[in-house]
C-alpha cells in the first residue's frame, strides 16, 4: 500500500502534507451492449487537506465516475479509496451514506437543490441531517454567498448563479473535510462562473477542506493548486 501511496502522491507533485484523500489502483468498468467498457484502469491519487485539485479530461473519459466513486455514490470494480484512515470502498452503503453526510460536500453542475425546500432549508439540509448545524457559520455563509433576503425563496425562483451559490453553501455548511465539485460552473456564464469559483475557493480555504473539481476549462483549472488529466483510464500530470 505504501508503494501505491507513493505512486499516487507522485501524481500531484508539489502537494504538501499528509494526504486526506488517497486513491489506489482504482478500476471501474461499465457494461454496454458492445461489451464491458473500462473507464478507470488503476487510478492513483493523493490529496492533502487544504489542497485544491482540478481533474480534466475529454467528455466521457471517466472524470465524473472517479468523483462519484470518491464520494461513495458508486462502487468500484477494484482498488481502494481512503478518506483519512477510513477505506470507503470497504464500507456498506449505509456507512458510506453516513461518511458522505458528515465528511463530504458535493456540488453538481445541475445544482441539484431540493426543489421542495426553501433556500434556507436547502443550505442547512446536510448539516442538519448530520447533526452538525452551526447557526453562526450558516449565517456567515448566507452573507458571504450573497443569499441574504433570498432565504424564503424556492430554488425555481432563483437564477442559475444563485442556485449554484446555494449548492455550494449546502456543501460547506456541514464543514466537510473534502469538497467534490462536478463542473460547478458548467451551467453558468463565464463571469458568473469565475465569481462562483472564486467564492468557493475562498470558503474552501476558510474551512481547510481538500477540494477536487472536475472541469473542462483550462482557464478555471489554472486557478487551483494542482491539475491532473484523465486519459485512457489513468491520471497524468498536466
Amino acid at each position: 500500500m505504501n508503494q501505491s501511496l507513493e505512486k499516487g502522491s507522485a501524481s500531484i507533485a508539489g502537494a504538501a502534507g499528509v494526504p486526506f484523500l488517497r486513491v489506489v489502483g482504482l478500476r471501474k468498468n461499465y457494461a454496454t451492449p458492445q461489451g464491458p467498457l473500462t473507464v478507470l484502469r488503476g487510478v492513483d491519487l493523493a490529496l492533502p487537506a487544504g489542497a485544491t485539485l482540478a481533474l480534466m479530461g475529454e467528455s466521457g473519459c471517466g472524470k465524473s465516475t472517479l468523483l462519484h466513486l470518491v464520494a461513495g455514490l458508486d462502487e468500484a470494480d477494484g482498488g481502494e479509496i481512503w478518506l483519512d484512515d477510513v477505506e470507503i470502498s470497504a464500507l456498506s452503503d449505509e456507512r458510506r451514506a453516513g461518511l458522505r453526510r458528515e465528511t463530504i460536500g458535493l456540488v453538481f453542475q445541475q445544482f441539484n437543490l431540493i426543489p421542495s425546500l426553501t433556500v434556507a432549508s436547502n443550505l442547512a439540509f446536510q448539516a442538519r441531517i448530520a447533526g452538525r448545524l452551526d447557526p453562526a457559520w450558516q449565517k456567515e455563509l448566507t452573507a458571504r454567498l450573497s443569499l441574504d433576503g433570498l432565504e424564503t425563496r424556492y430554488p425555481e425562483q432563483l437564477s442559475g448563479g444563485q442556485q449554484q451559490r446555494v449548492a455550494i453553501g449546502r456543501a460547506l455548511a456541514v464543514k466537510p473535510r473534502l469538497i467534490l465539485a462536478d463542473e460547478p460552473t458548467g451551467n453558468l456564464d463565464e463571469a458568473t462562473g469565475d465569481e462562483v469559483l472564486a467564492l468557493t475557493l475562498e470558503l474552501v480555504a476558510a474551512t481547510g477542506a481538500a477540494f477536487l473539481m472536475v472541469t473542462h476549462s483550462s482557464r478555471l483549472a489554472a486557478k487551483l493548486d494542482h491539475r491532473l488529466l484523465l486519459t485512457s483510464g489513468v491520471l497524468t500530470k498536466l
Partner: protein, 813 residues
C-alpha cells in the same frame, strides 16, 4: 413513428393508459349490459303482457270483470280478448300466470303468433300446456312435460319451454288460468285490438261506470318501479368510468409533457402543426378503440359475473324476473366504444390543446412547479365551490330522483376537488411543525408530489366515500330492517290455505286448540291509488297489532278508529307518493265503489315497491266481498310452533298451500335483503380496485420524476432504504388522510341516499345510523389499497441502482 416511439420507451405509461381506458370502459359497459338485459326482459314481459302495447279495458274500481260483461262487449262489436292474470308459487319460485284466449287475441299481439299458442287444440284443451321460459324451467328444476303443484295445490298444465316467453311468466289458456287461480267466471282485463275506435263515452254506454280504458303505459309498472335501481347502477357505473378517466387523464398528461421536446424538434424541422395534431389525435383514437374493445370484453365478463346478484336483487326488491343468460345487442358495443372514445378525447384534450398552442421557440422546460401548482389549486378551489353551490341549490330548489343524484354528484365532485387543498394544508401544517431536516423534507416533498398524485387520491376518496356512504346506508337499512321485521313479524306461524273453505276448516280447528292463543286472518285485496298498485290487507283487532305493529305517525286512538271501519293505516311510501298525512281523507277504489276513508296512521313498509293499506277485516269484507280468505297468522308459544306446524300438516295435508314459522320467514326476508345489496357490494369493491389501479398508475408514472427529487437527498447522505421507507410512509400518510376525509364525505353521501334518493326512489326514509367500526374498516381498506398500490413502485425504487440515481447528476461518465 417519432411520437409512437415514446410508448416503446415508457411501457409502464402505456400500460397504465391502456388499463385505465379498459377499466373505465369495462365498468361502464358492464353496468350498461346489466341494465340493458334487465330492461329488455321488462320489455319482453311488458310486450307479452300488454299484448304489444295494446290498450286494455279493466274494472273501474280495480276489481275483476265478469264473463257476462265480456260477452256484452263482444256482442256490441268490441274486438276484445279476455286475460286472466295472477300469481302462483311453485316451491320457492313465484310465477306470474297469464291466461289468454288464443282465438280472440289481436293479430298484432306477439302472443297471437307465438309458437305453442298457435297450436290451438293442444293449448286450449285439457290437460292444456303451460309455456314457460327455459331459464324459469331450470329455476323450477323441472323438465318439459312436468306438472308441478302450485301453492294452492293445483297442478300446472304440462310445461313446455319457449324462449319467447319472458322469464318468470307462465302462459296458459284462460280456462286453465281461471281454474288454477280460482277465478272461474271472472277475467282480469280485456285486451283491445288496435285501431279499435273506443271512445270512453261508447264504453260507458255499454258497461256504465263499471269499466274503464287504460293506456299501455299504465301497465308498465315494472319499468317504473325498477327505474331507481337502474339509476343507482348507472350512477355507480358512471362513477367508475370517471375514476378510470382520472387514470387516463393523468397518464395522457404525463405523456404529452414528456413529448413536448420531441414535438418542438419536429416543428423546428418543418413538420406542420396540423400533421402533429392529426397524428396525436389518431393515436388517441386507436388507443381508445383498442383499450375500449378490451374493456368491453371485460365489461361483458363483469356483467355476466354480476348478473345472478342483479337478478336476485330485482326479484327480491320488485318481483321482477330477468333472463339469466346475458345477451348484448350491437348498440351496446357501439355506445360503449363511443363513450370510451369521447372519454379518451376529453381526457387528452388538455394535452392536445397545450401542444397545439405551443410556440416553436418555447424553451423546453416544464412550467415552474410551485407557480403552476398554486394556480391549479386556486382553480380547483373555485370549481369545488361551484360544484358545492350547485349541490346546495339543487337540494333547496330541486325535486325528484335526478335532483337527488345531482346533489350527490355535486357533493362528491366538490369534495374531490377540495381534497388536494385539504391535503396541501395538512402538509403545510406538518412541515411547519417538523423538527428534523428529514421530516421537514418529507412534508415539503409530499406537498410537491401532491399535484401528481391528486387525481389518484381523488379517485381513492370517491371510492372510499362510496364505501362508507353505501355501507352506512346498507348497514343502517339492515339494522332498521331487522328491528322492523321483529316488530312486524310477531306471530309465530303463518299459513295460506288452498281455498276459502279449507281455510275456514283449518281456522275452526285452530281456534279449538288450547296451545293457539290467537288465529289472526290477514286477507288481501288489490286496488290502485294515483295509478300505483296498492295491496289492501284486512286484519282483526288484537293486542298483537296494538302492542307491536310499528307506526311512524298515528292519531291518538288509531286502532279504535281503524276498527270502527272508517279509517285506514297507510304505508309510508304510499303516504309520501299520494301526500297523505294522519287525518287526511282518502278515496279508495273498491269492488263495490269508492270508499271515502280517513288516514289514522302511517307505518314503515321497507322494501315494498307497491303501496299498502291496512284496514279492519270487516271493512275489507264489506268493500271487497269476493276477497280470498285464505291467509292467517297464529300466536302460539314460540317453542310449540314447530309442533303445531307438524300437527297442522298431519291434519290438513294438501289443504295447506304454504306454512312457515316466524324464524324461517325472517331468515328468508333477511336472505332476500342480503342478496339485494350483493351487487352494490361488488360494485363498491370494483370501484376501490379501480382507484387502487389509479394510484399504482400515478406512482409508476411519477417514478422517473421522483428520482430527480430523491437523488440530491441520497447524495448528501440519506440511504436508499431510508428513502424507500419515507416513500411508503408518504403514500400511507396521504391515503390515511384521504380516508379521514372520506368518512365525513361518506356520511354526507349516506345522508343524501337516505334522506333524498331513497325517499324519491322508494318512498320510504330510513333513520341514519352511524357505524364507527365501519370507519376503521375503511381506514384499513385505504391503507391496504395504498400498500398494495405501493408494492410495484417501491420494488422499482428498491431496484434503482446507484447508477440510475447518478444519471441525475452525471453529464458524462
Amino acid at each position: 413513428m417519432t411520437l409512437l416511439s415514446h410508448w416503446r420507451r415508457h411501457p409502464a405509461s402505456f400500460a397504465t393508459l391502456f388499463i385505465g381506458l379498459a377499466v373505465a370502459t369495462a365498468l361502464w359497459s358492464g353496468v350498461q349490459a346489466l341494465n340493458q338485459q334487465a330492461r329488455s326482459s321488462y320489455d319482453r314481459a311488458a310486450a307479452v303482457i300488454s299484448g304489444g302495447g295494446l290498450r286494455s279495458i279493466v274494472g273501474a274500481q280495480g276489481g275483476p270483470i265478469s264473463e257476462a260483461q265480456y260477452v256484452t262487449l263482444r256482442r256490441d262489436g268490441w274486438k276484445v280478448s279476455p286475460v286472466v292474470e295472477g300469481t302462483a308459487r311453485v316451491g320457492d319460485v313465484a310465477l306470474r300466470l297469464l291466461g289468454v284466449e288464443p282465438l280472440t287475441l289481436p293479430r298484432t299481439s306477439p302472443l297471437a303468433t307465438m309458437e305453442g299458442v298457435r297450436e290451438f287444440k293442444a293449448f286450449m284443451t285439457p290437460p292444456w300446456r303451460a309455456l314457460i321460459a327455459p331459464e324459469t324451467l331450470a329455476e323450477l328444476k323441472a323438465s318439459e312435460g312436468d306438472r308441478p303443484l302450485t301453492d294452492r295445490a293445483r297442478q300446472l298444465p304440462p310445461l313446455q319451454a319457449n324462449p319467447d316467453v319472458p322469464p318468470g311468466l307462465v302462459l296458459i289458456d284462460i280456462a286453465a288460468a281461471q281454474d288454477i287461480l280460482d277465478r272461474r267466471g271472472r277475467v282480469t282485463r280485456l285486451m283491445l285490438a288496435p285501431k279499435t275506435e273506443a271512445p270512453v263515452d261508447d264504453l260507458k254506454a255499454v258497461a256504465g261506470e263499471e269499466l274503464r280504458l287504460v293506456e299501455p303505459e299504465e301497465m308498465q309498472d315494472l319499468e317504473r318501479l325498477t327505474e331507481s335501481f337502474h339509476m343507482n347502477l348507472t350512477a355507480f357505473g358512471l362513477l367508475a368510468f370517471f375514476v378510470g378517466l382520472f387514470i387516463v387523464h393523468a397518464s395522457m398528461g404525463l405523456a404529452f409533457e414528456q413529448r413536448l421536446p420531441a414535438v418542438r424538434t419536429m416543428r423546428a424541422v418543418g413538420v406542420s402543426q396540423h400533421v402533429i395534431m392529426g397524428a396525436m389525435l389518431a393515436e388517441v383514437v386507436v388507443l381508445a378503440l383498442a383499450a375500449g374493445t378490451a374493456g368491453m370484453i371485460c365489461g361483458y365478463a363483469i356483467a355476466a359475473g354480476l348478473l345472478p346478484d342483479v337478478t336476485a336483487s330485482l326479484e327480491g326488491l320488485y318481483g321482477a324476473h330477468v333472463a339469466g343468460r346475458l345477451a348484448v345487442e350491437p348498440a351496446w358495443w357501439i355506445s360503449g366504444l363511443a363513450m370510451t372514445l369521447l372519454g379518451a378525447i376529453a381526457a387528452a384534450a388538455v394535452g392536445l390543446v397545450k401542444t397545439y398552442r405551443m410556440p416553436v421557440l418555447a424553451i423546453a422546460q416544464p412550467l415552474a412547479w410551485r407557480q403552476a401548482h398554486e394556480r391549479h389549486l386556486a382553480q380547483q378551489g373555485a370549481l369545488a365551490a361551484a360544484a358545492l353551490a350547485v349541490a346546495l341549490l339543487t337540494y333547496l330548489l330541486g325535486t325528484g330522483l335526478l335532483a337527488g343524484f345531482i346533489v350527490i354528484a355535486g357533493v362528491l365532485v366538490g369534495a374531490a376537488l377540495l381534497l388536494p387543498l385539504a391535503l396541501a394544508a395538512l402538509l403545510v401544517a406538518g412541515e411547519s411543525r417538523a423538527r428534523s431536516a428529514l421530516s421537514q423534507w418529507f412534508f415539503a416533498d409530499s406537498r410537491q408530489q401532491l399535484s401528481g398524485l391528486s387525481l389518484a387520491l381523488m379517485a381513492l376518496l370517491l371510492a372510499l366515500a362510496a364505501n362508507v356512504g353505501v355501507g352506512t346506508m346498507v348497514d343502517g337499512f339492515r339494522k332498521t330492517f331487522t328491528g322492523w321485521l321483529d316488530e312486524r313479524l310477531v306471530s309465530e306461524v303463518y299459513f295460506d290455505a288452498t281455498g276459502d273453505a279449507e281455510a275456514d276448516r283449518i281456522a275452526g280447528w285452530l281456534e279449538r286448540r288450547s296451545d293457539v292463543t290467537a288465529v289472526l286472518p290477514f286477507w288481501k285485496a288489490e286496488t290502485r291509488l294515483a295509478a300505483w298498485p296498492v295491496d289492501v290487507f284486512g286484519f282483526r283487532d288484537h293486542a298483537t297489532y296494538r302492542e307491536h305493529f310499528p307506526l311512524i305517525a298515528a292519531a291518538s286512538d288509531v286502532w279504535d278508529r281503524v276498527h270502527a271501519g272508517r279509517a285506514v293505516l297507510v304505508s309510508e311510501q304510499l303516504a309520501r307518493r299520494t301526500r297523505l298525512a294522519v287525518g287526511s281523507p282518502v278515496d279508495i277504489p273498491t269492488s263495490i265503489g269508492i270508499w271515502g276513508a280517513e288516514v289514522a296512521g302511517i307505518y314503515p313498509d321497507y322494501g315494498n315497491p307497491k303501496g299498502q293499506l291496512r284496514i279492519d277485516l270487516d271493512a275489507l269484507l264489506s268493500h271487497w266481498p269476493d276477497v280470498r280468505r285464505t291467509s292467517y297468522s297464529l300466536r302460539v308459544a314460540p317453542d310449540q310452533a314447530a309442533a303445531l306446524i307438524r300437527s297442522m300438516q298431519a291434519e290438513f295435508g294438501a289443504a295447506i298451500g304454504r306454512i312457515i314459522d316466524q324464524s324461517s320467514l325472517k331468515a328468508i326476508s333477511t336472505r332476500i335483503f342480503e342478496k339485494t345489496f350483493a351487487v352494490t357490494a361488488a360494485l363498491n369493491s370494483l370501484t376501490l380496485i379501480v382507484s387502487g389501479i389509479a394510484l399504482v398508475a400515478s406512482l409508476l408514472t411519477l417514478g422517473n420524476q421522483r428520482l430527480a427529487q430523491m437523488a440530491p437527498v441520497w447524495a448528501v447522505g440519506v440511504t436508499r432504504r431510508r428513502l424507500a421507507t419515507l416513500e411508503l410512509a408518504k403514500i400511507l400518510l396521504l391515503a390515511a388522510a384521504t380516508a379521514c376525509l372520506a368518512i365525513p364525505l361518506g356520511l354526507a353521501l349516506a345522508w343524501c341516499l337516505v334522506a333524498i334518493v331513497n325517499v324519491e326512489a322508494f318512498g320510504w326514509r330510513l333513520p341514519l345510523h352511524v357505524f364507527p367500526a365501519q370507519w376503521l374498516e375503511v381506514m384499513g381498506l385505504a391503507i391496504l389499497t395504498s400498500l398494495v398500490a405501493s408494492i410495484a413502485p417501491l420494488v422499482r425504487l428498491g431496484r434503482t441502482s446507484a447508477a440510475d440515481l447518478l444519471k441525475v447528476f452525471a453529464n458524462e461518465r
